[in-house]
Symmetry: C2
Subunit: 149 residues, 2 copies
DNA sequence: TGACAAAGTTAGGTTAGTCTAATATTATTA
DNA sequence: TAATAATATTAGACTAACCTAACTTTGTCA
């Protein structure tokens, strides 16, 4: 199912918070995203309806398995782009973070996979002391790519 | 002044159309963006209010000088990102086009300048037959960058 | 030159995402 | 354990971006 960028942001926020604190409440999400409580209540209602979240009346919020899968995909995209901005373009961490938020939504997996492969190739290349023109430039022409984190 | 991504899209569309056809009407914009005429009328009204467009009642649409400046900046960002996706990641033209649309809004000029410099460095490097490790990797650590198109 | 087609506008409705104010529930603690 | 604080929800309003239907203006050509 397709989510708006905003809804994806909420899912991602909940995922990130889940790894930092034991239970995630509406107010945690509101604080993190800089919006008011009713805004979160309504966003969470939408995500519950789509089956991405569980929450009892007045209770804490948890990701369903499909919600978690979605959140992981979004978070991966975010990390990949941020890594590119820091490692390849040399941006400061905080700028990279905010720029990644603007670029991360709705990209195809082809684009993200190619970006990952590219980053890894550049980093490997940088760490070795060799001229790695071949590895580096052949990647542009390969149409199917695999990756691991 | 800060524009929404949608408003930026309209400005960019008008700019692109201006270079293809002699006069740009509401219906040209609507056709190009795949929306209805009233939607364009109201978007154009908003952009006129902000001083980016001129249009007489029932007339054609033209960019003001500030509108053109804005549009050029947006279009440059688009071209830069698209070039990266095609030349560096090797995406197909049509995918690169649509992915660029998703990534182009609200990026800092620092990010865009660094991206431009990076693309040019890679392309130069690819065209020369030398090991250009130095040029390539030192760019990551330079904090101020210039560029030309 | 007047009728018809094309282009543009207005009116009014929908949805998503936000807010404030008021209310309800849950948790803490004196 | 009752009062208070913290948390969550509801109600109601606003804006941006879209739509359809109806209307107005402009342009064309028979």
């Amino acid at each position: 199912m397709k989510l708006s960028a905003k809804k994806e942001d909420y899912l991602e926020t909940i995922y990130r918070l889940s790894s930092e604190i034991d239970t995630v409440g509406i107010s945690d999400i509101a604080r993190e995203r800089g919006v008011t409580l009713p805004t979160v209540t309504s966003a969470v209602a939408g995500l519950k309806e789509k089956g991405y979240l569980n929450q009892r009346y007045y209770g804490k919020v948890t990701l369903t398995s499909s919600g978690k899968a979605k959140a992981v995909a979004i978070y991966e995209a975010h990390k990949t782009i941020k890594k590119f901005l820091i490692e390849i373009l040399g941006l400061q961490e905080n700028l990279a973070e905010s720029e990644a938020c603007k670029m991360e939504h709705g990209l195809s997996s082809e684009t993200l996979n190619r970006l990952k492969t590219f980053i890894n190739t550049v980093i490997d290349c940088r760490e070795s002391k060799n001229d790695c023109r071949t590895q580096f430039f052949t990647l542009v022409n390969s149409s199917k790519m695999t990756y691991d984190d």
